[in-house]
């Protein structure tokens, strides 16, 4: 039983990180209809910036958190303004290719700005081990699970009750009608990129806190993308939950079926789920009236 519980807790912890990054994918898709293939790289850049703040400015957790969030906002806004906005109205394929190009550039930037060595994010917390009923877990892992749950509630409330959230949903549903209603689509897009960068960046910072920081970190995006597909590309909350499901599935497969199955299990689950629900567990079916 303890073996199972250990697998579940570890799965939830890594799944929460996938979930945060997956929510980043979904926020952009929901608002712009675009899949951002540079999401993993944006996550990595924010984590590296957090590490830089911790080593050069202050290791205080609040300073690092505020600095990293601001940096993530700027990163999202700069990418939207300089790279994505000029692509407005262009074919989706071309725009997606731009995000792939952006991913390569951001990945290379790590070596140009920082280095290829692994680094640890030392904030004086998050690395300690606590034992819950004999099960060892790092405090950072507990914190990321709690953060994901809090963000799920906050984002649900944001889209449901805030004016900006409703505007984002309106643009996602029909940007022309939204424009007629006085909503600026470009502003909504900019906000979506900033929000996506922050949410995914939080996942990256927690990963760096619990594991380490290395140029291979962008691969988290490759794990989070299936979580978004599983939860539903247009379902922000569903993507978060999809991350948890992928994390748990991976760990159970790895623990009971062997190491080799760990990386395969999540994708196998996606195939099965998409065969039943092609729009994801929580995604909305596209209805076209003819």
């Amino acid at each position: 039983m303890q073996y199972l519980l250990q697998l579940l807790i570890s799965g939830l912890a890594i799944g929460a990180i996938y979930g945060l990054i997956a929510m980043g994918f979904a926020v952009i898709y929901k608002s712009t209809g675009l899949v951002n293939f540079a999401q993993g790289e944006m996550t990595m850049i924010t984590a590296y910036i957090a590490w830089t703040i911790s080593t050069t400015v202050s290791g205080n957790v609040f300073v690092v958190a505020v600095g990293a969030i601001l940096a993530a906002v700027v990163l999202g806004l700069v990418i939207e303004r300089l790279v994505m906005r000029p692509m407005l109205g262009e074919p989706v394929f071309a725009t997606v290719m731009v995000t792939i190009g952006l991913a390569v550039i951001l990945r290379s930037a790590i070596n140009f700005i920082w280095d290829a060595y692994p680094h640890g994010l030392e904030l004086g917390m998050g690395r300690g081990i606590v034992h819950l009923g004999g099960i060892g877990v790092r405090t950072g892992q507990l914190a990321v699970i709690a953060t994901l749950l809090l963000l799920l509630v906050a984002i649900w409330a944001f889209f449901r009750y805030s004016k900006v959230g409703v505007a984002m949903r309106a643009v996602a549903a029909d940007d022309r009608t939204a424009l007629l209603m006085g909503i600026s689509a470009t502003r909504v897009h900019a906000l979506a990129w900033a929000a996506s960068s922050v949410i995914a960046g939080i996942g990256g910072v927690f990963f760096a806190l619990s594991y380490d920081l290395s140029p291979a970190m962008f691969q988290l995006g490759l794990k989070a993308f299936p979580a978004t597909i599983l939860g539903g590309l247009d379902a922000v909350l569903g993507s978060g939950l999809g991350g948890l499901l992928i994390g748990i599935t991976e760990n159970l497969a790895g623990g009971y079926l062997g190491s080799g199955m760990k990386e395969v299990a999540g994708f196998a689950m996606i195939i099965v789920v998409l065969m039943v629900r092609p729009f994801g567990i929580f995604g909305e079916r596209d209805i076209e009236r003819v």
Partner: protein
């Protein structure tokens, strides 16, 4: 007619002489310069080895240039990035040979990349010294123009597992490897000792390259009751494994392989990394030879490059020293044929960072002596055990 032919011959000879006395038959060499080419991963995670190796080459080149160059010619280093992508390695090697027209090649990316580029090197006939990722295919069968400094991955693993087995008789073993050519080599070396010493292997895992979370793998290891563990990851993987073991409150006797034997790894592992064993053929930085190398390197590279020094800098430095010495022995007019012949004559060349290097007729592999080291978390260093 004969008179006309004689005049024509004289004119032809004069025109040839007019080109200048320093022109050699092979490319990459002028009156003042000799070009040495290299292709390494300078971006992406493997940049950790590519950048460090290139720093080693730069140190040896700077040292030679400071001493007047190779018989008066300064060495110019032409470095290309392949991003650890095999197609780019081939493209990069072709570029430095055909476009930059270098005189010799050094380094050359990872094991898979150097294997893939071998036909290009062989066809060109350019003198080459490989130092980053020594694998048997590179010297078996021996290629006329390709020399390899180092020790084979398989021999390294055999040496490490033999050491751990002798030190921990009758214990239960666990192994995890990566699902690529590197992992297969590690597993082959491990299996040969398992067979020879009849080791009791209770856990054998195989993870997918790029895996970052090892919680279920290490839980399986714990559940198996393994007492000796060969962590077959490279860098980040080994760190993640050790931290998981710490979380699970177990500390098996652990061995790692040289690609992961870099000092920053120990800082990230923290107390979990204390006492782990490693095998290598280059000197540890904590020893006298390592300290002397760092002292030598400091004035020859930038501050940023100095920070990027790791064990691969030593392998790169040693290979470059051997190549430079061979070209130097060819005198004022070095050629490819002479350089290859002189490389073959390399006998007990001291580099200060590993055992003396030798090649020989039909021997293209330096077969470096191995040593076991143990991590000391307090000083964040590896210290020799044997």
């Amino acid at each position: 007619m004969i008179k006309h032919l004689a005049v024509a011959s004289l004119l032809l000879s004069a025109s040839c002489l007019d080109i200048g006395p320093a022109v050699a038959a092979d490319p990459g060499i002028t009156d003042t310069e000799i070009l040495i080419g290299d292709v390494e991963p300078l971006t992406g995670p493997p940049a950790l080895l590519g950048v460090a190796a290139s720093i080693g080459h730069k140190i040896a080149i700077a040292e030679a240039n400071a001493a007047g160059g190779i018989n008066g010619r300064k060495i110019k280093y032409v470095l290309e990035d392949d991003g650890y992508v095999t197609a780019r390695t081939i493209q990069g090697v072709k570029k430095v040979i055909d476009v930059d027209k270098v005189f010799a090649m050094i380094g050359i990316s990872g094991s898979g990349q150097s294997i893939a580029v071998m036909p290009v090197l062989e066809k060109s006939g350019i003198p080459t010294v490989i130092d980053v990722a020594p694998v048997k295919f590179l010297w078996e069968p021996p290629r006329k123009n390709v020399f390899v400094v180092g020790q084979s991955y398989e021999e390294g693993i055999i040496h490490l597992v033999n050491f751990l087995a002798d030190k921990n008789p009758g214990k239960k073993w666990g192994l995890i490897t990566q699902d690529d050519d590197y992992g297969i080599t590690v597993r082959d070396g491990f299996d040969s000792v398992v067979k020879a010493k009849k080791l009791n292997v209770v856990y054998s895992g195989n993870y997918k390259k790029g895996q970052q979370d090892f919680s279920s793998d290490m839980l399986q290891l714990k559940d198996s009751g393994a007492e000796v563990f060969l962590a077959g990851g490279i860098i980040a993987e080994n760190i993640a494994m050790m931290k998981e073991l710490e979380k699970l409150s177990i500390k098996p006797v652990t061995g790692i392989f040289w690609p992961g034997r870099i000092e920053p790894v120990l800082k990230l592992m923290g107390p979990a990394g204390d006492g782990i064993y490693a095998v290598d053929y280059v000197e540890p930085f904590a020893g006298a030879a390592g300290k002397a190398f760092l002292e030598k390197a400091k004035p020859l590279v930038s501050e940023a490059e100095f920070k990027g020094i790791n064990r691969y800098t030593m392998t790169g430095y040693a290979a470059a020293k051997v190549l430079i010495a061979a070209i130097e022995r060819c005198g004022k007019q070095p050629t490819w044929a002479c350089t290859i012949a002189e490389l073959e004559k390399t006998k007990n060349v001291e580099t200060g960072v590993m055992a003396p290097i030798s090649f020989g007729p039909g021997v293209r592999f330096s077969n470096q002596k191995l040593q076991i080291m143990q991590a000391d978390a307090a000083t964040l260093s590896f210290k020799p055990v044997e």
